[in-house]
């Protein structure tokens, strides 16, 4: 399944205002669904500075975003990159305490390498499930973090439609250069997910698709057994 990874997903960071509770609720519903059938392993993936395996016991250190809040989890170093840390947080919040692995994928990783990583992760355990953390464009409006790029909304709409249709080939073929220009940091995670689930057209469900702060957020479930039977 797919979740976005903005810092505001961590409720503690937004102050007294929950800011976007519906996004958090959609993620919580999706993750509850993901872990509801007692998977043998949850694989959390998301873009980071490099492709690496992270300590499964590690957590997001909220102090990097809000020093007043202190470390977000057990005092293990180094803290997880944002995408994996938020994924780990969602698992914790869903009450999942089973096995997890936390492979990150480099934000510049080419599509073929992402697909290969996905395929490898698909075989990590017989009954593993995948939580891919990544966002759409951050250039959807003049108030967006990356200001307006007219290509952003069509790009995000295309991704959303591909997810809606279970069109893994389109996710796998997303242009890394365009995604980088549009600040769509979820691109490598989408392609790891496509590599893990493909080939085929899984049934999907979209729980959230919007960009209220100029960044595209998409929460989606993929009904295919993973790895494919």
């Amino acid at each position: 399944m797919l979740c976005p990874a903005p810092p505001l997903l961590a409720r503690d960071l937004t102050g007294r205002d929950p800011l976007l509770p519906e996004l958090r609720e959609a993620c919580a519903s999706a993750v509850s669904w993901l872990v509801s059938d007692a998977p043998e392993l949850v694989v959390v993936t998301g873009a980071a500075a490099g492709t690496a395996d992270w300590d499964p016991e590690s957590r997001l250190d909220l102090s990097a975003y809000a020093p007043a809040l202190g470390p977000g989890g057990p005092d293990l170093e180094p803290g997880l990159p944002l995408s994996l840390g938020l994924g780990a947080l969602l698992l914790d919040q869903a009450g999942y305490s089973g096995p997890r692995i936390l492979p990150s994928v480099a934000d510049g990783e080419p599509p073929a390498a992402c697909a290969a990583l996905g395929e490898r992760l698909a075989n990590a355990a017989p009954r593993a499930v995948l939580l891919a953390m990544g966002d759409g464009s951050a250039r959807r409006s003049t108030t967006a973090p990356g200001y307006l790029d007219e290509r952003a909304i069509p790009f995000d709409t295309g991704i959303e439609q591909a997810v809606r249709d279970g069109d893994l080939a389109t996710l796998a073929a997303t242009d890394p250069g365009l995604a980088r220009d549009l600040m769509a940091t979820g691109r490598p995670a989408w392609q790891v997910l496509a590599g893990a689930l493909g080939p085929g057209r899984p049934d999907t469900g979209i729980l959230y698709a919007d960009g209220p702060f100029g960044v595209g957020y998409l929460v989606a479930t993929f009904a295919a057994a993973w790895p494919p039977a």
Binding site: P6, L8, T14, R16, D17, Y65, P145, V215
Partner: protein
């Protein structure tokens, strides 16, 4: 007589040490120094109560006698100015903390019977029976420093070897006496009383050294709103003292003061909330910048 900072109990309310409190001034006088007569009419005074409550006031401070020397106000007249108004406020706001700025025990008795929760004794225990009234009615008491001035007089060439030492000595002595008189210690505040028996240098000194007072563990009230030491420091007339007032308010909050007597409630609330957020005592209202 140092103590651990604890909750402040006033009326039905209990306030933790981390919550800065705004005490909104409502004068039932025709001749107070700041915007004289603005709430002389009872309807106007009640309208101000509604406004300051909406703006975030935690406490009302009702005064029937201006601090400065002016026309004499008798006990009966002070009661006439304050008691019906307090009854009206109490009827409208059953749990709002009502303070009364008075030094006379006869007035104190009448206002407590009418529903007041706190006696703001700006004149520093001039009438020793005030603490007895506070004890009798389970009311709170502000123990202030006025440099030995008798009520409604101005300082004349005040001098102190160490003004903060004098402030501490007087306020802690009064607090101790109040406790001995039976006042609940969790209902007592101490107040350096800026401008009272102090020139501008003295008021700046007590502002700078306010941590000496907060370190005692007694909750500290500061009353600095639009006062002359702000005006003299900045060289500005009465109507241009808000920025200076908020600066002193912020410094006092940073140094641990807990209650802030104010004319401009909304602005004071914002300044205090900002300081509380810097201290880590209050979460920001809404954080989005950089987090989307």
């Amino acid at each position: 007589m140092d103590r651990q900072p604890g909750p402040l109990r006033l009326g039905t309310q209990e306030f933790p040490p981390t919550r800065p409190l705004v005490m909104a001034i409502v004068n039932r006088t025709p001749d107070s120094f700041y915007r004289p007569g603005i709430t002389w009419d009872e309807g106007a005074a009640l309208d101000r109560v509604h406004t300051v409550v909406a703006e975030g006031a935690d406490v009302l401070d009702v005064g029937g006698v201006p601090a400065r020397p002016a026309t004499e106000v008798t006990v009966d007249e002070e009661i006439r100015r304050t008691v019906p108004f307090i009854e009206a406020v109490r009827a409208a706001y059953p749990d709002l903390v009502i303070s009364v700025d008075t030094w006379r025990h006869e007035v104190a008795r009448a206002v407590c019977a009418a529903g007041a929760d706190l006696l703001n004794d700006t004149w520093s225990g001039w009438d020793p029976k005030l603490a007895e009234v506070a004890a009798e009615f389970a009311a709170g008491l502000v123990c202030s420093h006025a440099g030995g001035l008798q009520p409604r007089t101005r300082l004349f060439r005040a001098a102190y070897p160490d003004v903060m030492a004098d402030v501490l000595d007087r306020t802690l002595t009064l607090a101790e006496r109040a406790v001995q008189a039976g006042v609940d210690p969790s209902r007592i505040l101490i107040d350096p009383a800026h401008d009272f028996g102090k020139n501008t240098w003295h008021s700046l000194e007590v502002s700078r050294r306010l941590a000496d007072m907060t370190a005692t563990g007694w909750p500290v009230l500061v009353s600095v709103s639009n006062k002359d030491f702000v005006g003299e420091t900045l060289g500005v007339p009465l109507e241009e003292r808000l920025a200076g007032t908020l600066a002193v308010t912020s410094v006092a909050a940073w140094l641990g003061a807990r209650m802030f007597r104010a004319h401009q409630v909304a602005e004071t609330r914002q300044a205090l909330d900002m300081v509380a957020a810097i201290k880590g005592d209050l979460r920001p209202a809404r954080v989005l910048k950089g987090l989307a």
